[in-house]
């Protein structure tokens, strides 16, 4: 019994070569027509560092930790992002806000340590969806190359959005 997985298979033509095949020239001219036709075609590549392709509007890249209007960290270290993370890339430690730190943290509890392992992360965006405080977002940039694995563990300082 024979069945085909797809209709893309092509039977190999095993007939002996005709005279037209044997002198090769028609085939070579046909090939030249194909390759020379490509001279005027649009280039498939771009001049990368100067020109960059646009990402789709739903592209999920590197994470960012958001701040509120008064430059206070929104994250309360509730751990929902870590819980929702299918790749278990997020770790955090919480701490209590001390008096006098109100200008730094929005609520009484904050993340003393917040790390995302970018090698584990699958950029699914579930942390973004799980966050009740609008604190974590996925941006349009991607993690740059690094020389060792430690460099891919992003600390809170790497993730925090710069002051406005």
């Amino acid at each position: 019994m024979s069945f085909t997985i797809s209709d893309k298979s092509k039977l190999v033509d095993r007939r002996p070569m005709t005279f037209k095949d044997k002198i090769y020239l028609p085939a070579i001219l046909g090939g030249l027509k194909v390759t020379l036709g490509h001279i005027l075609k649009k280039k498939a590549t771009i001049n990368y560092p100067e020109v960059q392709r646009e990402f789709s509007s739903t592209f999920r890249g590197l994470h960012i930790l958001n701040k509120d209007e008064e430059n206070r960290e929104r994250c309360t270290a509730c751990g929902l992002c870590a819980l929702s993370c299918p790749a278990e890339a997020i770790t955090m430690e919480s701490a209590e806000r001390k008096p006098g730190e109100e200008h730094l943290y929005r609520e009484e509890k904050y993340a003393a340590k917040y790390e995302i392992n970018m090698l584990r992360c699958i950029f699914c965006g579930l942390c973004e969806e799980a966050c009740p405080k609008d604190a974590i977002y996925l941006t349009q940039t991607f993690a740059p190359a690094n020389y060792d694995r430690k460099g891919f563990i992003y600390k809170k300082e790497d993730l925090l959005i710069p002051n406005k």
Binding site: Y24, A27, I28, G31, T35, L36, H38, K41, A44, T45
Partner: protein, 356 residues
Amino acid sequence: MFLLAITISFIIQKIILAAIIIGGSLGIALYATWAERKVSAVMQDRRGPTRAGPFGLLQPLADGVKMFMKEEIIPIFSNKFLFILGPSLAMVVALMSSAVIPWGPDMKFADGTSFSLQVADINIGMLYVFGVVSLGVYGVMLGAWASNNKFSLLSGLRAAAQAISYELALGLSMISLVMMTGSLSLNDIVSQQHGFWDGNWFSWNVFKQPLAFLIFLVCSFAELNRAPFDLAECESELIGGYHTEYSSLKLGFYLFAEYISMFITSVIISTLFFGGYNFPGMDAVAAMVPSPLFSIICALVLLTKAIGFILFFMFIRWTIPRFRYDQLMNLGWKSLIPLALINMLITGAVILYLNK
């Protein structure tokens, strides 16, 4: 004393001309490497070298510097003298055949002196070209053998077998041309193709000997070890074949010699079949401009033709896959040689009929 003065000025003239030709060949070969990368890029919808200079025009220099900087390795068990001789021979032989090519008509100056644009007008120019071309295989063979590496040796043998097989068809296709022109001097062959139309028929040899041209073209691909006949190298699947053990500048010499040979072969094809420096309407141009300028125009026309052939060699390389070894030998021995013989027979019959 007078004779001596003439001889010395003659020698100086020839040295200047040879220096210009060798420098020009090197320059064109240098930019042929750039062109090859651009042509392949364009055919594959890529951009090719763009970083070094505008349009990547400094890329050949960057490549050269890279080759210079690489470590120079001579294998312990190699024959050191022959190991160095191999690439040098490849380079020298590639440049040698440019000596007999007529680059343009003589420059005639107002004071009656003239300056020939041919380094050596020997009456067996074509034989000389063949002799030099067949020397080319020694560069490959010596390098391969001196490497003391079995893969290099096998590849060198393969290259030698290929070159010898195709030289036969090359020579035979030339015989029909020589039968027609009645001269082995390249100068005569070119001047016989004067203009474009001689009153009855096109004057360029390609219109008189199309089959010989085709055979010559196919054989030059094989002689140059270029795709589709680059079995000696196979840079994509073997490790370069005969130059596996070479590094640094010696490797550069081998790679560069290929481009020089390609340029010289293109010039020879243009000279033999495409009218050399002749172009349609050349008599009108000759009447308008002074002789030295006309000679330069003619030389530029020859260069344009040669560059066209170089581009053609590149288009073919990036279009069709490599021949298998048995296909290569079948094509050479069973198709091209009989075809060249038949062509010879037809040419002879036609010449006899016309001279009846």
